[in-house]
């Protein structure tokens, strides 16, 4: 690490973790039908029914396929397990967002401050696990962390405009120690940044995919200079070229996967084409959002043909 003038052993491994969605309203033994949130009358009633009804009650560590978010205990024990088992065997962490419950309970709608607060809590937990405890420098990590913004990490969900805004500033405050200082101004505009995880050799780009995302009502396309996606792609192009000139390799990361189902068509084509034309330096792309483990091959030549047709 050039900044701290320290050395560490590389393991040839990194962790990708995503969509934790901790829900502070999740309560053990609350009704699953009530999104595992307490509903006094209903919970009392169900608790009195006895053990045969246990399957409809929220278990301590969460229930798969129930539609409930993650109990805070699930997050705590997951990070504890990672700390005890994996921490000392990885080189860096890519963490692709959604650190707050979904906005799916009309009785307790999410507020902006709750979103910031939970993001701060989760961010603090990552910091505690991976920081260098032998120094007072808060930006000195044993294992570098590269977070990115999820569509539920913003208020209202999916909606995120070009910065500087209150939200970009808040996210910067929350991720201050993870964002390279020289990029704070651009982060304030676009919540996208580059991090060298192996200095001079390997980087990770954290992309604010909400600027390319169909479900963001503030995004129309990536063709106009006023569009946030256009500006993001400009940044991406210059940055990839700089990495190429430095003979560095790079992983791309972000929350919403860059596939046609999610991205506006012009944003998808352009993003896919950048990925294709910089295939000499891009190692791959890791994303979250969809909660299913799978892969999708995207066709760079097709993207170019589609853009040329449009042109």
């Amino acid at each position: 690490n050039i900044r701290t003038n320290s050395h560490r052993k590389l393991h040839g491994r990194f962790l990708h973790i995503t969509d934790i969605h901790p829900d502070r309203f999740y309560e053990e033994n609350a009704s699953i039908d009530n999104l595992c949130h307490p509903d006094n009358e209903q919970s009392k009633h169900q608790n009195n029914r006895g053990k045969d009804q246990l399957s409809s009650l929220a278990p301590r560590f969460g229930k798969a396929m129930s539609g409930c978010d993650a109990p805070v205990d699930l997050m705590e024990y997951t990070l504890k397990w990672i700390n005890e088992t994996l921490r000392d065997h990885i080189d860096f962490v890519i963490w692709t967002g959604d650190n707050i419950r979904h906005d799916n309970d009309r009785q307790i709608p999410r507020t902006e401050s709750q979103i910031f607060e939970m993001n701060e809590i989760v961010s603090g937990k990552f910091r505690d696990i991976f920081e260098n405890k032998r120094t007072a420098d808060p930006r000195d990590f044993d294992i570098e962390i590269v977070p990115s913004l999820g569509n539920n990490d913003v208020f209202p969900h999916n909606m995120f405009s070009l910065g500087p805004t209150l939200q970009t500033r808040e996210m910067f405050k929350i991720w201050d120690v993870f964002i390279p200082q020289e990029q704070r101004r651009w982060f304030d505009r676009g919540v996208t940044y580059l991090k060298e995880v192996i200095p001079g050799k390997l980087a990770v780009i954290s992309i604010n995919t909400l600027y390319l995302y169909k479900a963001n009502p503030l995004v129309d396309n990536c063709n106009s200079k006023k569009e946030p996606g256009y500006q993001l792609l400009l940044w991406l192009g210059y940055t990839l070229e700089e990495l190429r000139q430095r003979n560095m390799k790079v992983w791309l990361s972000g929350h919403v996967p860059p596939i046609l189902k999610n991205f506006d068509k012009s944003c998808y084509d352009k993003f896919t084409l950048w990925t294709h034309e910089y295939r000499d330096i891009i190692v791959g792309g890791v994303y979250g959002h969809m909660n299913m483990d799978h892969f999708i091959p995207i066709d760079g030549e097709q993207a170019r043909r589609d853009l040329e047709t449009l042109e």
Partner: protein, 302 residues
Amino acid sequence: DETFWFDELNEKQKPLDIYNYAEAASEAHMMGAKPVNKVSYMTKVKEEYYETIQKELKLAYTQENIYDEEEEEITESDDSIDLLLGKKKKKKGNKRKKGRNPTKDEIYEKYSIVNIAGSVIPTFNPSFRIWEYNISGINEETSINQNYQPWDEFFADLEVKIDNELSSSDPNENSMNIMKGKKGGKKKPDKTIPRRKPSEYPLGPAYVEQLFSPTKFIEYYADLDQINKDYLSLLQDGKDKNRAADEAFKFQVEYTSDDKPYSMKSLLVKDFLNVAVELCDDSTEWTTFLDRAFISSGYSDD
């Protein structure tokens, strides 16, 4: 005035755009609900992406086989080595031009892989992934080149470049002027469309095994049903809540990329594409793939 404003808004937002947005917003909302129609989604992925690749690669294989056969024929029928090489070259060149179908290496090269991860939220079971990558020879690589400008200077310059770019005319406005017959001069290139990769740059770690190529992944998952059962059982045995939780909660390996039935020896783009083809050809492999996509939760669309 209000009517005018509304008409203008309607004109700007074509029905299709609104539909696209509404569909995407609804899908985003569904991410926080009980999973539904996820097998249908995966089947669509198979049909729209994997089967396209299967067709392309099969065509390339067939073409290359025809090729090999032609080459063999020439070898058998001609004694003169010089003549043979000449003929072979001629035949090869003709076939490539005539066929116009990409070779399998060209197919591998035009694709990139979007890796979409399982989540910690128990939409299915909680999971995360450890990626392994090639670091052999990392110290033999040339040391960091100090001649480049420091990143702080690069990013300061970059902001100026982007601002200058944004303050010049919009590529869309140019297009509109041309469409309207106005004199707008030559259209400026859209800088959000990259130039083709210069041929002097070799393929990177996603395509050819080298430093930083991904080599393997390990998918970890937490079997929530088992964990919750173990936890309750430990409580019944008299353990306190914290101790029971400590003992019951664990992640385990769900599968690794080199596990059967579609084991991948490395994680280059071609390996993913070959798996995509296998998944189309083999229903047992597809079943396993679905089970892994849903993090061994036993999910089905029923």
